[in-house]
Symmetry: C2
Subunit: 396 residues, 2 copies
């Protein structure tokens, strides 16, 4: 069900011929209201794909009627022609959705349609195929179409990612794609979150940003940030239940946390999911900087692939964070790997042989800075032969 | 010859049993004067190995008589005991070198001895073996011992790295080790540079820093900075020729540039050496930030391993640099790979099929920011199966 779990939404996912595999590659999500509240968090990369530029503008009024998403092409670095393709896609969706309109209020404008694309950079989309896919998707929109839509946005993903959070009288649903290039500030990752709660646009925006900050922004597969990352929230109000910022944030966070964890678990070529927790930092930003230094250390990530609890590489990574960002005394650092304190006070702790990394896919690294009381966890993956293979053999 | 090319130096490299391979693992370099000028550039990592802490203090007076270096153990994260080991090593070198002293001026103190270590973090050194190696090295010091010393500091290096710059009446020689973990702010890299020029300590320090900034600091194999990085300059004055800052910097830069290029060429598991040049930036710092963003992109480096000139990944990497660091308009970016302009004005340029990456080990990527006139080149390597293998199968 995913995005169609909340009331007021229809979705579809069809095969339009954009993906060489012939699989589903165009998804359409329609908010039937009564409200059309929308918010979006978009990549902070300065090189932004055409659909990101379009969606930023289209969502700025806090409202949207539909989202069209395609895999099989990112429409990034495609110049003015690429932007025209996105514009034409939105116009086509608007026309198709308006064709059955019985009142002026049912008319959909291009500015009510958000657009997401994912796939290879620097290649124009096959617009004819895409527009044909929009027609087919519009024709198969269904109140239980969430699963098909989730499949249509997959690229190198091996499984579709969906999640639902049930509340008293209202629901949040979500879908996401992404199996690599996950990075802070978002990743090559598309996600649509839906809710039937009655939500003010400003509250929707704040809740989505808060949930993204502590979930999607804290998975970092390979430190690379993409040109297309987009997280969209649509709220239909169909439940009639009003929610406040706090409860909405909590429900969205439940969904995005689940989706983020699924993204890590399906990261390209990974054999371990690694949670790096930094404790007792002076601030959340300090903890985050130290955690990210570890999650971006190729040497540490390669060691985990070799089932080696190499705490020296953890220390070497944490030691690159400037003191003004994260004050700590290197001679007090403790490091535990899967509960074994292999480093104590910056030196040798328990024998590393006590750590068994081969037994589980999950690895938990904990770094204690002894400097304050802030704590952050960032998820990443190990660096494997398969990661290199997937990212060298295939363009993306 | 390398470090013994300039007059006034003797060196040796012996096998002391620290390396499991049984190869040479202890090097000794002695400056016989008449001057004992010294300078050092040390890792900026906050987690610093015992020999780094020792050497920073010992060189602070601008003078040193000898450098002792060992492979087979980094003596990092080894606590007060590890520092005591370094201290005792320096004392032992001083005692051995003083044993033949005929005048008080020939007496060597522990503070005249700089220490470097490289190898696994978090393991105490076999001090008895190391001190035995010092005795053996002192007994085999020779005016042509540079090659043996260069071999004794190798870890995963496949070849010894040496370089010489000849000037009118004076010479600069150098050796370096390092085959991975090369990163800005230095790397798991040890280097000793010697000269027989007559040099003021302040000039020696300034020249070494300037040469390091534009050479060693601009190779970045995997973005990881080590706890032990050390570059040492010793000046004997034996040529009797006085040099100024500019000519000394130029000669040292010639040596360190050659050594840096050799380090990249021997990087662990690499199949391509990649020069990323960023042109027409507003400042050198802006160009450097953009170049480093590219050299740290695992996705781009994996693409090069696959001989794929994936300019989209170059743009995505450059796009992560904040505008306040490097002002540029993403819609004006040009990217060339081996002279083919595959990206023009942020969009598609020449066909990527025109680029042949399989033919050469060297790859030249050029990014034009169209924002100013500063230019920087940073060298890195591709991300390969062998990199993952070497850094997962072996601790370091």
């Amino acid at each position: 069900m995913s995005i169609t779990a909340p009331a007021g939404f229809r979705a579809a996912g069809v095969a339009a011929g954009l993906k060489a595999s012939g699989g589903r590659d165009v998804a359409l999500v329609v908010n039937d209201g009564p409200r059309r509240t929308a918010a979006a968090v978009l990549t902070t990369n300065r090189v932004q794909a055409a659909p990101v530029v379009w969606t930023r503008q289209a969502v700025s009024d806090g409202a949207a009627r539909a989202v069209v998403l395609n895999s099989g092409g990112a429409n990034a670095c495609t110049g003015p022609e690429g932007f025209a393709d996105t514009h034409r896609t939105a116009e086509h969706v608007a026309a198709v959705l308006s064709s059955g309109a019985s009142t002026p209020d049912d008319e959909v404008g291009a500015g009510d349609v958000l657009v997401c694309s994912t796939g290879l950079i620097g290649i124009r989309l096959d617009l004819e195929a895409l527009l044909g896919g929009v027609d087919a998707a519009a024709g198969s929109l269904a109140a239980d179409g969430g699963a098909d839509a989730a499949h249509a946005i997959m690229t190198t993903d091996t499984v579709a990612k969906t999640a639902v959070a049930e509340r008293d009288g209202w629901t949040v649903g979500g879908m996401a794609k992404g199996a690599g290039m996950l990075a802070p500030g978002l990743a090559t990752m598309l996600s649509v979150i839906t809710t039937d709660a009655v939500v003010d646009p400003a509250v929707a925006d704040a809740a989505l940003r808060a949930a993204t900050r502590t979930t999607f922004d804290r998975v970092d597969s390979d430190g690379c940030m993409s040109t297309n990352d987009t997280v969209i929230l649509l709220a239909s109000g169909a439940s009639g239940v009003e929610t406040g910022l706090e409860e909405l944030t909590a429900a969205i966070t439940e969904v995005t946390a689940s989706l983020a964890r699924q993204l890590v678990a399906d990261a390209e070529g990974a054999s371990h999911d690694i949670a790096v927790t930094v404790r007792n930092a002076t601030t959340e930003d300090a903890a985050l900087a130290c955690a990210r230094a570890v999650t971006r250390s190729n040497l540490f990530k390669a060691a985990v692939f070799g089932n080696d609890p190499n705490w020296g590489r953890v220390l070497a990574a944490v030691g690159t964070v400037p003191p003004e960002v994260a004050p700590f005394d290197p001679l007090t650092l403790d490091v535990s790997v899967n509960g074994v304190q292999v480093c104590r006070a910056g030196g040798v702790g328990e024998p590393r042989e006590l750590v068994d990394l081969a037994a589980d896919r999950e690895v938990h690294v904990e770094v204690d800075l002894h400097a304050g009381d802030a704590e952050v966890t960032v998820w990443t993956n190990d660096l494997t032969h398969d990661y290199v293979h997937e990212n060298s053999a295939y363009s993306s």
